[in-house]
């Protein structure tokens, strides 16, 4: 049985994991960089160790340092959170080698799905629909042009190692491809150390719908419904909700089936998410699989009443799931918004010190937050400082509660995207549940242009 967990992460997710550990009487070890010495997760963990300089490469990505702290503190498991080392197969392997349980799937499973290109092939074999495209890396620009013309523009040019929208670009014409190919390849090389590029046909105005699954070490895979995360800026999610207001019951069942099939095919264990793009006719296509807990997991928790971190720990303890697809029911509707430290018009980051923070309270409101009044938001990490999660018996109630909560949410000292979020949740297409990944481009940015003019 796991009795002490080292949390190899920071910010709100580190606090979120500590909370569940406390509920389960599990000791916690926090690690932190010099920049995070005063962070809340450091204060809240039972023990905390500084592991290096502020840049992630020198602290939160330092595998050997983190393993060393785990061994010194006799932690029997590591929870990687999301981002950072959470999908790093080498890290999972090092944990296995040292006899430390990695709370997530095993290293081989992570590796098998880590490259987007490999994941495409694997999913195709599992019988999951994939987007028309190529299954081998593009050798050069000539080959890219040839394949793009064969598939037909518009296309999506993607970095196999990509994430967070980096290395990914919509291309409408052959002339654009040349510049985009070299630029994205370089970017992918610099960010991920791997410049492998590939091409997929562009799905016009898709919805982003993803299925949460949890799988135990006894072969049971249970889908925990879907989340719609179509409202995005810079290819990153901003608003997420469960269930999807768009898909029909029969599409939902088909998507849950596909997700279970995918998980079983690769021998998946622990919590994972299979992301799909869904077109206007509700055809769905595999996008990628995330072999970790996701930022937006709270909306699933709110509609299923499950604690996903708790179940991740149970699964790591080899405990079988005590629920089935049939026994899990969804209740009401949940929406999460990500609060980013950024300019709400340019989406550029806004580091600084929070001088005042006032959080809305009320029925159905849940906060996941990394900061307090006086906290420094440093330029070293992701701009997300908090998540606001609301639940309501119906989507209408949830949207209303969210709007009210956002109006009362006050952060001063830095810029945040709260004004943008307030605009978004009051737009008619959002109220109607008709959001696609072009929502921000279609309904939010043009309005900013008008203000500027």
């Amino acid at each position: 049985m796991i009795s002490k967990i080292l949390i190899a992460n920071r910010g709100e997710i580190a606090r979120r994991i500590i909370r569940t550990c406390q509920k389960m009487n599990i000791q916690t070890v926090a690690v932190y960089s010099e920049a995070d010495a005063n962070a809340l997760h450091v204060k809240e963990a039972d023990e905390a160790f500084e592991i290096g300089k502020p840049p992630v490469a020198l602290s939160y990505l330092n595998i050997e340092k983190i393993i060393e702290v785990a061994k010194e503190t006799k932690a029997d498991a590591i929870h990687p959170g999301y981002g950072l080392l959470s999908e790093n197969a080498q890290f999972a392997k090092r944990c296995e080698e040292e006899g430390i349980r990695f709370i997530g799937p095993n290293a081989e499973v992570i590796a098998s799905i880590g490259s987007k290109l490999e994941a495409r092939k694997t999913m195709q074999k599992a019988g999951v629909p994939i987007i028309e495209g190529i299954d081998v890396p593009l050798e050069n620009i000539e080959e890219a042009k040839e394949i793009a013309n064969k598939i037909g523009f518009p296309i999506m040019l993607k970095a196999s190692a990509g994430g967070g929208g980096i290395g990914m670009q919509r291309i409408d014409r052959e002339e654009e491809l040349e510049k985009a190919f070299e630029g994205n390849k370089k970017r992918a090389e610099s960010f991920f150390g791997d410049g492998t590029m590939y091409i997929e046909k562009l799905i016009e105005n898709p919805h982003h719908v993803e299925v949460q699954i949890i799988a135990d070490s006894h072969g049971n895979v249970v889908p925990l419904f879907e989340r719609e995360c179509s409202v995005q800026r810079r290819n990153q999610k901003v608003v997420e909700e469960a269930p999807s207001p768009f898909i029909s019951t029969s599409t939902r069942e088909k998507m849950l089936d596909a997700a279970v099939q995918a998980a079983k095919h690769i021998g998946y264990t622990n919590a994972g998410t299979i992301e799909f793009l869904v077109d206007g006719d509700e055809n769905f296509y595999f996008l990628e699989m995330n072999t970790r807990l996701q930022v937006e997991h709270p909306v699933t928790e709110e509609i299923t009443k499950l604690d996903l971190v708790e179940w991740q720990i149970h699964v790591a303890n080899n405990k079988p799931l005590t629920f089935t697809r049939e026994s899990i029911k969804k209740h009401g509707h949940a929406i999460e918004v990500r609060i980013y430290a950024e300019n709400p018009k340019t989406f550029f980051p806004s580091p600084g010190t929070i001088t005042e923070l006032q959080l809305p309270e009320g029925e159905g409101i849940r906060h996941e937050i990394a900061v307090e009044s006086g906290s420094a938001v440093t330029p070293f990490y992701d701009p997300m400082i908090a998540k606001l999660v609301v639940w309501g018996e119906t989507r209408e109630i949830a949207v209303r509660r969210l709007t009210d909560a956002l109006q009362q949410y006050k952060v001063t000292g830095i810029e945040t995207n709260i004004p943008m979020l307030l605009e978004v949740v009051q737009k008619q297409p959002f109220i109607d549940g008709m959001t696609t990944t072009s929502f921000v481009n279609d309904y939010y940015l043009p309005q900013i242009q008008n203000v500027k003019n």
Partner: protein
């Protein structure tokens, strides 16, 4: 002579121009990485790059000098 300064704190990811190069107003001269995002730094006025003051990989604060134009 003018100095191009950092619009926010971050790490200098790329200096796009070289000393002696002519740049136009509005042209990107460097890219900062801040909060996992690439932030282009543009020259507000045109001119010839006299001296590059920040090195790739340096951490710089808001309003720190990146390069001099003449």
């Amino acid at each position: 002579m003018t100095t191009v300064k950092a619009s926010m704190a971050g790490t200098v990811w790329k200096i796009i121009v070289t000393e002696g190069e002519e740049v136009k107003a509005g042209q990107d001269v460097a890219i900062l990485e801040s909060m996992k995002m690439e932030i282009p730094i543009t020259a507000e006025v045109g001119g010839k790059v006299k001296k590059i003051l920040a090195q790739e990989g340096d951490f710089i604060n808001v309003n720190d000098d990146i390069l001099e134009l003449e």
